[in-house]
Structure formats: structure tokens, C-alpha cells
Symmetry: C2
Subunit: 219 residues, 2 copies
């Protein structure tokens, strides 16, 4: 495969990130929701991935990456996270904007440049959202805060960047990996939390993208 286009790469990245852990095909509806494109555009692009040997498509089921597709996606996501580290650690760019910008930079520099950058940054283990750089597939540590219990305190391990809303909330509330978050109360889809000595009312949907470990009983 020679020089996948920016779009092709972004599709591979999205499929990789959204894919099921159980090896089940990813429904095109998930991709549609992710990109906001029409179902037909999604279908067209998936067919292109198939033609190029990057994915397998099972009608009425969904799409699966081939080994080549998976490898290409992994390289993309690695570059993405390295750029995020650069933007966040060196230039103090907020994590929501870092994610967006890395979405462009990941296509602009080849692997060897980002590897140099990785070394230059001191081989960081995690991107600013808390995702591992060396073990791309590792699941976030702990549980989704949406499933947390009232009265308990969680140390945030990861803020999944899939939801731009959550990223913006994290930025505004100053929530970062390592922050302590306490669930005050849960009621009908909303969760009241305390973070950095401030109380916030957030929706369960948005908090689903925050992951943390229960630290209530001491470290």
C-alpha cells in the first residue's frame, strides 16, 4: 500500500479506535456517527479500504481491519499521541485543542520524524488524555465515571478524546489524568461531582468518557 490519503488514514484510525475488543465487526453506523458523514459516503470509503486490502466488510454486520489496515492505524494513532504530547508538554496547548491539532499533524510528518520527536520528549508513556503510547490497545485503567458510585472518589486515568464535548468539559473544569474527582450525587442522567474544590453538574453521557480508579479507601 502506497501513501494512504488523509481520509483513508482517518477512516483506519477511527475503525481502530471504535473497534470491538471481541473481534466483532464495527457497524458502519458507528463510523457514521463518528464522522457525521452520510451513510453512503461511509459505505463508499469502506469499499475503498476493502479494495486496498486494508479492511474486510461483512454486509449487514460491519467492517474489520486487515493486518495491514491495523498496522497503518496503529502508526497513525501513535503519531497522533506523540504530537499531542508535544503540543501539551512543550507548548502548553489545552487538551481539547491538542487533540484537534494532532488530527492534522499526524498526517503531516512521517513515522521517523515523530519517533525523533518521541525521543526528544523523553519517550512519554501517556498522551495528555491518559492513553498509552506504547500499548495502543490497552484499556483505560479503572471504570467509566458514568458507572461510578455516589460518595466515592476517583483518580482520573483517562479522558477518551472521542467526545469533543467531554474534552471541552475537561478543559474548562481543569480535569486532567491524575485529578481527583468525587461523585456527590447521581440523579436521572445527571451526576454532581466535585473537582478541584468546585462542584459541577454534568451529564452521564459526557462523564462516560472519563475513566478513573476508585481511591476512596486510601492509596
Amino acid at each position: 500500500m502506497i501513501n494512504p490519503s488523509v481520509s483513508i488514514e482517518d477512516y483506519l484510525g477511527a475503525i481502530y479506535r471504535l473497534q470491538r475488543k471481541d473481534g466483532q465487526p464495527l457497524p458502519l453506523g458507528d463510523l457514521q456517527e463518528h464522522f457525521g458523514f452520510s451513510p453512503i459516503s461511509i459505505h463508499e470509503m469502506v469499499q475503498k479500504l476493502v479494495q486496498r486490502g486494508l479492511a474486510v466488510y461483512i454486509p449487514y454486520k460491519g467492517v474489520l481491519l486487515t493486518l495491514t489496515g491495523s498496522t497503518t492505524a496503529e502508526a497513525l494513532i501513535r503519531r497522533h499521541r506523540i504530537w499531542e504530547c508535544f503540543l501539551s508538554n512543550e507548548l502548553a496547548v489545552p487538551i481539547d485543542e491538542a487533540h484537534q491539532l494532532a488530527g492534522d499533524l499526524e498526517h503531516a510528518a512521517p513515522d521517523w520524524i515523530t519517533e525523533r520527536l518521541f525521543n526528544h520528549l523523553g519517550q512519554p508513556s501517556f498522551c495528555p488524555h491518559g492513553s498509552a503510547i506504547d500499548e495502543l490497545t490497552s484499556t483505560p485503567v479503572g471504570i467509566s465515571i458514568a458507572n461510578g458510585q455516589a460518595g466515592r472518589t476517583y483518580v482520573i486515568s483517562c479522558i477518551s478524546p472521542e467526545n469533543s464535548n467531554s474534552l471541552q468539559i475537561a478543559r474548562e473544569a481543569g480535569i486532567l489524568p491524575g485529578s481527583s474527582l468525587t461523585i456527590i450525587e447521581k440523579k436521572n442522567g445527571n451526576i454532581e461531582i466535585e473537582i478541584n474544590d468546585q462542584k459541577k453538574q454534568l451529564s452521564e453521557d459526557d462523564l462516560a468518557y472519563f475513566w478513573g480508579m476508585d481511591m476512596t479507601d486510601g492509596s
Copy 2:
């Protein structure tokens, strides 16, 4: 003007770099030579620049940037040189590859990010090729080595990145801004030089892109 495309930006940058100092229009032939596109593609794109108010076109004469076009080009070139500094100073990327990569990165990050990068780098005055970052239009110091005299020694001030051949030569011979270069002999289009204690035979055409100051009579 909203969101100029990568192509539009590159055309603006090329026109800005190639433009005459005397305010004369730039012949489309020069753009054609620069990009290697067909005359008709060049013409089409120039018409787009005109439609968007970025340039003025005088048939049979050439193209001139408007104020908007010029400002956009200046911002692009500034971003370009800042990225080159980053790649060269922080990641030790050779100057020929740095130029190429910066040609992509310049489109991937907005001004505010590159300004942060600029500060992070310590507000460098020159890109790795010796072009000024704050005074984009300043002409290279000294003379073109192609016009130098046999027996004289020049301190390289700038290697114009327009010619990829020259950049590669500079890389291979280890010529950088600040290097001392002595002209041994000139004969029929070729120039024999001494650089870093090594003698090289180079063409006048390639050496035209090297600029330097005569340092023979002491500093």
C-alpha cells in the same frame, strides 16, 4: 478570506518568494517552472487567486499579490521557517528534509501554535537555511557564490531553498550558514570550491543558490 486551501496557500507562498523586488509582475512561466504543473493548471489557479482577491493578473505580463495575498503568504512563510527551526534545532533533521517537511507542517498548524513554538525555540532569528524569520523580505547578506571570485573565501549566509539540488549538495558537503567556502577555480560553468577541508566540483547553477560574504581580508 476564509480558510485558503493548501494549494492556494502554496501558490501564494511561491509567488511571494519568486516575486520581483522592483514590483514587476511575476510571469506565470516562473510559477510553472517552480511547481512543474502545466501552464493551464497554473493559469487556472492564478484565476482562483484573482477571484478571491488574493492576486492581480495582467495578461502577458504576470501576477502580483494584493495586500491580503501578501499578508497570507508572509504568515505561511513565517510558519514554514519556524517549523524548519524546530525540525533542525530540536530534532536534528537535515536542512533539505526540513524544508520539505515544513512544506506540509506549515499548513497543519495555525499561526498561534507556531508563535508558541517560536517562543519555545527562543525566538530564533534565522531558519536553518539562513533566511530571516522576522524580516521575511530581507535579501540574503553578501553575493551569490556563483558570482564569487577565485581565490577568495566566503562565509555562507544563506542557502536559498528554492533549488532542491542545492539543498542536497549543502547537506552532503556539510555546508551550513556560517560555513567558510573558498573558491579555488572557475571554468566553463563549473566552480571548484574548498569546504570543510574538502575540494568539490560544483556547477555554477547550483552554487547560484548559495550566498556568502567575502571574508578574505579578515573579519
